[in-house]
Amino acid sequence: MRKSVWSMCGMCTVRCPIRVEVEDGAVKWIEGNQHLLKGALCAKGSAGPALVADQERPRQPLIRKGGRGAGRWEPVSWEFALDYVADKIRGIKERYGAQAILASSRGGPFQDVVKAFTHALGSPNYSNHDSSCGRNVHHASLSLFGLGRKGFIYDIKNARHLVLFGRNILASLRPAEVNQVMDMLDNGGRMTYVDVRQTLTGIKADNFFQVRPGTDYALALALIHELIKARAYDAGFVERYTTGFAELSAFVENCSAEWAAKECGVKEKNIHELVAQIGEDRPRVIFHPGWMLSRYRDSFYASRALNCLNALMGNIEIEGGLIFAKGPGDYGKKGVRSLADLSPKLTIPRADGVGEEYKHFEKGPGLFHLFYKAMATGKPYPIKGVICVRHDPFTCFPDPAAQKEALDNCDLLVSVDTHYSEFGWYSDVILPEATYLERDSMIAVQKGLKPRLIKRNKAIEPQSDTACLCTIIKGLARRLGLDEYFPFNNLQELWAWQLEPTGLGLQDFEQKGFVELAEKPVLFDREKLDGKFKTPSGKIEFSSQKLSECGFPSWKPYESPERPPKGQFRLVFGRSPIHAHGHTINNPLLNEMMPENSLWINSKAASRIGVNDGDMVDVSSGPVTSTVRARVTDFIHPEAVYTVHGFGRQIPLQTRAYHAGMSDQKLMVGQLQNMDPVGGGLNLCETFVSVRRSSKNPQRKVEL
């Protein structure tokens, strides 16, 4: 008999709702939840069973035997491993105080238990990977709207025009969103794509701008200039809900299409055409403010400018625009309980300086890379223990060698993950998490037009000696005398506790796998949006009070990006639809589809350095060199080289991924603290690399 289980995918952090069919304890079929995705799933989503079966992942708790990174592990029992970690934490707490522990996890609905644990221990130092991802976008959105980047949902399906700056929305994909984009295009909507190279998204676009790397901000400013000049904006909305329009107009005074065309290396005529189209299509034009935008030194301002364009369109809270993400409270419903609310409120400052030295950043998860400074200098106080939950800093952040140096000041490094992360391989203890098909997770609230509660249910029992995150944390908490903050003994009890205020029960999830908290989506009255923008003025602040209080301008004067020196290129990176960064490279089925990455290089630039398509090239920066196959193409800007992120892994037990392809972050030598001081995001596309034809290309054929 086949059993059907509602759950959530865990191959990437989109966490699509799925339905799993199980027979004889094995997963036979996974499809996207018919109620939400009509079956749709990406390639990674289908490869889940291969992850379960993979023998090349930790299948039992491991404690390091040799030096860090030497790869000698002793398999131990859960009892032993948790005792060991708890003892170490206790030791650090006694010697340096609880604040010397840093814990980091993936953002999203399941971070609650990790955050609660950190705070219950007495440490304010909970973090995540976001300073290498969406922090600039988040802070830009906060400075303008008073709402973070998840404060709005984009009603792409009903838009007439979607403008994307480097947001490769059809490859770095979320199935629900991809379908909205395709529906929009099917309904005659237009798409504009701006990037340094052509992508799976760009090939569907009506307008494509291949810009010089690092000039996005110039193009965004020119659009503001030209739209204001053409009076192609919603003057009523601007008048009613924004502050600083006059200052914005003055600032973009000189940013004409003509100027941007030169700066970005695109045709002026095409910018004018785009402006005319936006004039026709507004207000249902969405300027995507970026997802992962830790790229150039002005990415924060580029994202801010894109959101200024949204405000100029007056596309807030309309169909085909930016709609306030509604939570349970907006529909008069109660949300689920959170564990973090139970833990004590701490007054001790964070070791990353967020909230103290950096008052303009939102406290939330802080900025992970800044903890390395605390580790290295002991200031403001030492960090001695690091716990990373499904977060691999060596893959996320630049220069793993520099990270290791800082981590060597720590007494305890723990990795909780389903696979060997590069950080895990260097750590002291690996606590292997069960795969998403083998574990239950906390009930999650998903905000949206119609908010919902959704639950991951394990489809099968763990096939190896692995455990779910809540059980692992509970085990540590019990040993550390923190039981009171974790009022459950198993997931059933945790779910019941979470659900108590809502009046809902587990049976309410049975029909569809989730519970919708609203019958019909409702938009706020557009005449009464006052108070919805959580800025100091309650309006959309083109001129941000908070930024100026902290001594930062609301718009940064544009600076032309540096050109790479001769023989060098700006290294940019991105995603393919087949892999979720470093997590999936060793998955047997996904690896078969895409075993390695390549280096995209412009045809003319390649011929200048004598590189042909398919040649092996050495890519180097400082002491680091990677060798990878060149993909020579016309469809990338000559100043840039591009690769897919996540490859070049160096974990010998991952035989498929071991040294396959190149890793961009290892080439970002000396870039670990290259941070946008206003946005808090790292500048990950500010590295120049040399590219040479490699001596590994065969010159002779020696057979016997």
Partner: protein
């Protein structure tokens, strides 16, 4: 007459290769065989935008298949509704079928040591469902059409 065909709306396809894996995992195939394939022509500029279209390829389920008569055991068969399939119990893995097929459609499954090919997921069709690739296509670009509709 063949009753079914799989149609790709290439305007909607994003080239994510999901269908290839949806197919593979539904059949429980190991590393090696792929029963369908998404491909595209090199990019060409259309009104200043480099573009391409995707194509979906799987078995053609020929009216008069080459693979069926060469099969020494009668494992390779064509059904009433036109579906060409391998009866796994009878297959000896000699791969004569693959040699006879001009497009090399039948593939070798190194785990079962037998031939495997697209059969429009006939077990699913017989159960009133759609093939795996169609059901789970990321963008719903793939459709199963019955011939009258064409």
């Amino acid at each position: 007459m063949n009753k079914y065909a799989i149609y790709l709306n290439s305007r909607r396809c994003i080239g994510c290769h999901g269908c290839e894996l949806h197919c593979k995992t539904n059949k429980g195939l190991p590393v090696g065989p792929f029963l369908c394939e998404i491909s595209h022509e090199p990019l060409k500029s259309v009104k200043g935008v480099p573009k391409t279209e995707f194509a979906f390829r799987s078995c053609r389920h020929c009216e008069d298949p080459f693979c069926v008569p060469v099969c020494p055991t009668g494992a390779m068969q064509k059904r009433e509704d036109g579906i060409v399939f391998v009866e796994q119990e009878k297959c000896i893995g000699c791969m004569a079928c693959a040699g006879a097929c001009p497009w090399g459609i039948p593939q070798y499954n190194s785990e079962s040591n037998k031939a495997v090919k697209c059969d429009y997921c006939m077990d699913r069709i017989d159960a009133g469902l759609k093939p795996a690739c169609v059901t789970k296509c990321t963008t719903h670009a793939l459709k199963l059409v019955t011939m009258q509709e064409l």
